[in-house]
Symmetry: C2
Subunit: 277 residues, 2 copies
Amino acid sequence: VTILGVGLLGASVARAMKKRSLCLHVTGHGRNEDNLKRAQSLAFIDSYELDPAAACQDADLVVLATPIEMFTGLMEKIAGSLKQGAVLIDVGSVKGSLYRDIVRLTPQGVSFVGCHPIAGGERSGIDASDEDLFEGALCIITDETDSPALGKAEYLWKRLGSSLEYMGADEHDRVYALVSHFPHLAAFALVNTVGEGNGDALRFAGPGFMDTTRIAMSSPELWKNIALMNRDHVVELVDRYIKQLESFASCLRDNDGERLEDLMEKARALRSSINGR
Amino acid sequence: VTILGVGLLGASVARAMKKRSLCLHVTGHGRNEDNLKRAQSLAFIDSYELDPAAACQDADLVVLATPIEMFTGLMEKIAGSLKQGAVLIDVGSVKGSLYRDIVRLTPQGVSFVGCHPIAGGERSGIDASDEDLFEGALCIITDETDSPALGKAEYLWKRLGSSLEYMGADEHDRVYALVSHFPHLAAFALVNTVGEGNGDALRFAGPGFMDTTRIAMSSPELWKNIALMNRDHVVELVDRYIKQLESFASCLRDNDGERLEDLMEKARALRSSINGR
């Protein structure tokens, strides 16, 4: 198994597979040699390679787990060294055209299956990795290719404890802009709004504010790239959110308590309907 | 002790005082007799009165714990029946001009201390009440009156387990618009935005979305009134939030990853600085 990008998700996949005896040898590749050395000393990986092509040479399974904006460049580097019959999966949060680029760059005889495990919180890096990260989590399979490796990818995620859902790459990006990519942007913007108002006021924040803004502690590098790579959907949602906020503000300006309560009740009912699933 | 409004906070104050033997008899008053009967049968209160003036007649401590928009009307009704030497406190989330109205309507010989316990989550009503709700919580005292009852109010909240902070009524409203009232509005609006996009997508929401929108399950009746009674501050913040969101959207439109990451990093640093306090 070769893990390209030994961070939160890459290290967790490696550790989860090792724990469940699903692999014999894990090779790691990444930009930061110190991080790779550390992952090796912690036995998250067995060896590492700084050259991605060399890292993939004998792998039966290759996992694309770097920041998503590096996927295309990596594919160009590793395409020639992927073994015949190898299975390639990614764990990226954006699919869409990126998914199609990977499909296009996947050589004959290698099978690619797009995967998005819905796991991991605002923490990143190998210290946040967890051998049980995927237990009870959802994993989205964006299978548009009828890849022969689909069964293998399904087997892997199920053994790691995940349940599977299937959707096309574009549908995936529309759905995850709604429930994840846009809400992250909203949380970052909310913290900045409150911070600009009066940074000192933050010490009076209660558990509600803490929950609402927890995801604003997520990695800016990661979320910048997710937002940019799914920007059409995200921008559309920000525009719609601004319209919603303007509706709320106009209720306040007009002192229209009835309409304001209706808007809040609509949200309360919707949010409550998915609580405690 | 008389509790005006036997809901989450009113019932919790009553139960917390009883548990700590801080009172001999608790009289409850409210609009809903069934609720009062239930509170009595659960021994949260010892008796109840449907007439607020009668409820306050012999009370040493009167707690204003109804929805905030009823405070002024209640004060007009009870002013004549408050005992000389009685202490009056409120537990409302908005102070400002409402605080000054209560001060103005408080008769000679009665002392009012404005209080805002920062406790309770998205649940409301007596079933969500808790005799330890105020343990470890913050309570804001908006003491602008040098009330002789200040020491008594401080003693009460400390005995209930709270730590105290002091600020003026207007400062209170500015601070809580920032860390609570405006974030609630933002969360309600966010759920509506996602729901309008595709209600079905909500089933793919992960823990980040759940945290971010938890406060959108709060009582619309309560939060409508809080937002309206603090509307100048809240509207200003919604306007500023819209400007922040427009900055984020323009980074996406311009494909300006560097500026986008700067905005996110600013939020991450600010939010992380108050984490785990």
